[in-house]
Subunit: 596 residues, 2 copies
């Protein structure tokens, strides 16, 4: 059975040595979260994830969720008790607004919590995860009355939430959506239509489920400009604000999926359900998009989280499994064979996963800190940069981390040989669960298009040029330190290639949009590699500095070796992506559709 | 529900235009297989795969195999009838020796049949596939008596076979195996021990199962030099050669796996089972290895086969699914949206799969033809080259085709968005089934080690230098044809990089074997890309020649575009692999095992 240990030391290193979170102690949220307290909270959270959630991961995969003929849904054995403990522990409130009972910790802190949850039990974590999405929607766009009605119980976890976008005939292209909303005399609407792929859509964990639903008000314009956002509680609230009459929304089916079996992915049928408009009429898509950055960052993190869990279990097996001998002579001569971790190719798979995980985690936290600065900084310049970075990095982070996390999780499964293919060992689940993160919350092709089509060109490319300048400045500041050379060489090379790709896009993507589309995937990956190269340079700097203070701690040397691995064995893909993206769209678009 | 159309036109192109099989009409096997007949046979085979096997693919995945308490195993609904039709159609006999009832067709022909079976229903195809492995073992190493006893019924399919290597504590490192064989007065042995991961190990399709089992004769030397091969029928043969008394081998468990659910992966418990030595005492591993080239080529083909099935269904969805608009203006203005095949990034995923599939198929058939030449050619020089190529190409083909086939199948699943994650649509199954091919028949890391540690250096590198010379000659012969330029440029670049990597290995891999191990994966992929670049150059040549005869057929233009895609968008990975492999083993080996 797989195990999980939360990477608390990694969190500490990032918070203290890399991101220097204490420098932001003047900001709201941060002010109440000195590092000692944060680390205590995360230590407690780690215990919960390791001891309560992780043991239920395989159970959830094996049992899945069950729908009764009346549309009610039962979650896997143990989920209900675990959810109760989650709520009692106050965990759903971690990053939420104190005005509604939240603890108001910075997002960068709650992200660490979310990573642990996701590594321990991704399918379970999606229940509170979706609630947070609903919380964000109502918090940002709801009326005061709606906030008062829904937020305290979403924050406490007494109720959960969902996001309803997809319909059978439309996912990416929400302009096609048909779910309709008919205005009522009392100001409410009646919602009818079918939504599919609704995560955590129906279950037995909470006393109410708050659905956020995109629908088209009768007579609204066609396309995306006629979409409004509604809150549709499973149980309408009674005079005391408690769940009362059952609303007209029923789970019609649970989908059988490749993974995340412990989460109920529902077809939800809305039949004259009472809904309340959130924000302005016909501005529903905008309301949805404001939440997307946070949600997409969270999904990117899921790619890393599954890769981390797979890595940890890959290491255990590689140290335990005795098979064959080292190529350079026995390393366990007294035993029948050497542990397979002596083999360079096994180490390649482990080190790839490790270098990815640590770089990806840094990238998540670094980006997330800009999310906090965007929210809390009093400095307009800081907020501008933070907003630029959040917008630019979100698709990169979502796309690159989930593609790569799936690949590294698959490699860690490979270390198990035949045992990796047998469900009993749990490695297959990491791969199957990780797979969804490439698809949902905007498939990765959509992320790539968002990056090249929207984010890159915004404000004349201000965000990407700020990023280039930041990297140049860092390289300049560290150029005299010979110990930084491998990391700076890697970063310099990656950045030059990303700049080259950016220029190519600016010259060729505007004149022929198909060139931009054809380049988008490879550009996103080139960007992701460059971002991780920068993270590794930041981490190398931090490790070298920390070594001066505490040279005896092997943590920093391991970090420096792992960073070298990234430069030597993962960064070279940058060149391949650049060559591919510069090949343009001609060949891709050459064949008529019926020639495929 | 997914569908499948056998790529008959592709087979024809390869046989006639690329491999010019008719040139070998003087050889046994080929003599009786004029192309018209071969194509007729494959057409019939295609119908069987499309109409009988493919509709059972999802059934097999969904139902899996069921073990009763007595150890008997029931295959999924429909498998038994389909197997009966398979036998009645004479399909298992296709590539087998006429002396035992086989049809004696060249291996390159039976490979086309196997590809269709595997695309249509990989789990089903493993039952006759494993039988063929047992057939090969007995055919090559069995006594006359054993051949007479077992081969006719393995060839007809009346009985099936299995290969028993793995035990709980040993897979790759067979030297550790413990299953023991005790000699009996009558010359037979009694076999006891546990074997795991035995594909097609127990089922209800055939009246007998012929297990080929590696075991250690009492008192034999430790390690690989004490392993012998035995034939252990499920039912001992009676005086008439028919299944009689039940032998002491029982299925103890069916494994729950990530995929290939329709195939029974068994734990087989041998308890004093009667077995008969095949070949010489203590030479069992050699006997097993002679079959490995053929088996590994077949597994490489499975990677391609799943990618092909996933591609075909990816195309259907991409043409049907209306979502969003082309970046260059509506292409289906009358409809609510454009089909997603208008999007360059969707095409990237399709074209990657297609360019891989066609290149990989050519590589399979090209290699397989050398297998036939090795068997049938009267010319010693030809046989030497054929043997060299079979040995060298087998690990490349197995490793590269299964890694890449998994990746392209995953991309085709991605085209389906959320629907790709739902089991109902069938795309998940292609990915889950494809995954095993990277693991079994020697995990791909073992293939890579076999390549750099054994195959490359054999006979002073004769095989690889022959390959380089062949490529140089081809480039020289075609250098004057401007239409060949893109393909030759790609091939020249890939070959130069492979040569560079080969030199690096020769200089650094011998002095430090860990350098060879550290380079092995990337070297294998670099080799695979170069092999496909050569295949694409051969196919471009063939397409250009064929166009002169039949210019109106769009088949050849599509082929030429697809080859350009390979050069532009897949071949650039070669450079990344070269850079990585030349980074050596130092960083990989730097950390102590407990630092992971």
């Amino acid at each position: 059975m797989p195990t999980y240990k939360a990477p608390l030391r990694e969190f500490k290193f990032l918070f203290r040595n890399v991101l220097h979170i204490e420098r932001h102690a003047n900001l709201p949220g941060f002010a109440d979260a000195p590092m000692d307290l944060v680390e205590q909270v995360l230590e407690e959270g780690a215990k919960f994830c390791e001891n309560v959630l992780q043991p239920l991961n395989a159970v959830g995969d094996h049992e899945g969720c069950k729908r009764a003929p009346d549309g009610s849904v039962t979650t896997p054995t143990g989920f209900k008790d675990a959810y109760k403990l989650l709520v009692e522990g106050g965990w759903p409130a971690l990053g939420s607004d104190p005005a509604y009972g939240g603890q108001g910790l910075p997002h960068v802190v709650s992200l660490a919590w979310n990573e642990m949850v996701s590594s321990a039990n991704m399918a379970f974590g999606m229940y509170p995860g979706l609630s947070h999405g609903a919380y964000e929607a109502i918090h940002h766009h709801g009326s005061d009355e709606q906030r008062q009605a829904y937020l305290p119980k979403l924050v406490s976890g007494e109720w959960t939430g969902t996001m309803n976008l997809t319909e059978p005939h439309c996912g990416t292209d929400l302009g096609l959506l048909r779910t309709k909303a008919i205005p009522q005399a009392d100001g409410s609407h009646r919602i009818s239509g079918q939504k599919i792929f609704i995560s955590a859509g129906e279950h037995d964990l909470a006393s109410n489920i708050i659905h956020l639903v995109l629908a088209r008000i009768e007579g609204a314009p066609a396309g995306v400009k006629g979409i409004s956002l509604f809150v549709v509680p499973k149980f309408l609230l009674d005079a005391n604000g408690e769940p009362g009459q059952r609303n007209g929304v029923v789970c019609g089916k649970i989908e059988e999926k490749m993974g995340i079996h412990g989460n109920a992915t529902c077809v939800l049928n809305y039949d004259d359900a009472v809904g309340y408009l959130v924000g302005q009429e016909n501005k529903g898509l905008n309301a949805m998009f404001t939440m997307m950055n946070v949600a997409r960052l969270g999904v990117g993190m899921q790619g890393l989280a599954q890769s981390e869990a797979a890595y940890q279990n890959g290491v255990i097996y590689a140290r335990d499994r005795l098979q064959g001998r080292s190529l350079t002579g026995p390393k366990n001569a007294a035993g029948p064979a050497d542990p397979i971790i002596v083999h360079p190719d096994v180490r390649r798979m482990l080190m790839d996963a490790r270098a990815f995980n640590e770089g990806a985690r840094a990238f998540c936290f670094w980006t997330s800190l800009y999310g906090d600065l965007l929210t809390y900084s009093p400095d307009e310049k800081v907020r501008e940069k933070a907003g630029d970075y959040m917008a630019l990095m979100t698709p990169v982070l979502k796309g690159y981390l989930t593609d790569k996390g799936y690949a590294t999780a698959t490699n860690c499964q490979q270390i198990y040989g035949g045992h990796g293919y047998i469900e009993e060992w749990g490695m297959s689940q990491f791969v199957r669960d990780a797979r969804i993160a490439q698809i949902y919350e905007g498939a990765n092709g959509i992320q790539a298009l968002d990056l090249v089509g929207r984010k890159l060109a915004a404000n004349g490319g201000r965000a990407v040029f700020t990023f280039f300048n930041e990297i140049d400045a860092f390289i300049g500041d560290n150029a005299d330190d010979p110990q930084m050379k491998p990391y700076l060489d890697g970063l310099t090379s990656a950045k030059a290639q990303l700049q080259d790709g950016t220029m190519w896009l600016m010259q060729n993507g505007m004149s022929n949009f198909d060139n931009a589309g054809a380049a988008s995937h490879d550009y996103l990956h080139l960007f992701g590699i460059t971002a991780l190269a920068y993270m590794w340079a930041l981490m190398a700097r931090a490790a070298l500095d920390a070594k001066k203070v505490n040279g005896a701690d092997p943590f920093y040397d391991v970090k420096l070796v792992t960073g070298r691995h990234f430069v030597e064995r993962m960064l070279p893909d940058a060149a391949a992506h650049l060559t591919k993206l510069k090949s343009g769209s001609e060949t891709l678009m050459a064949l008529p559709a019926d020639a495929f």
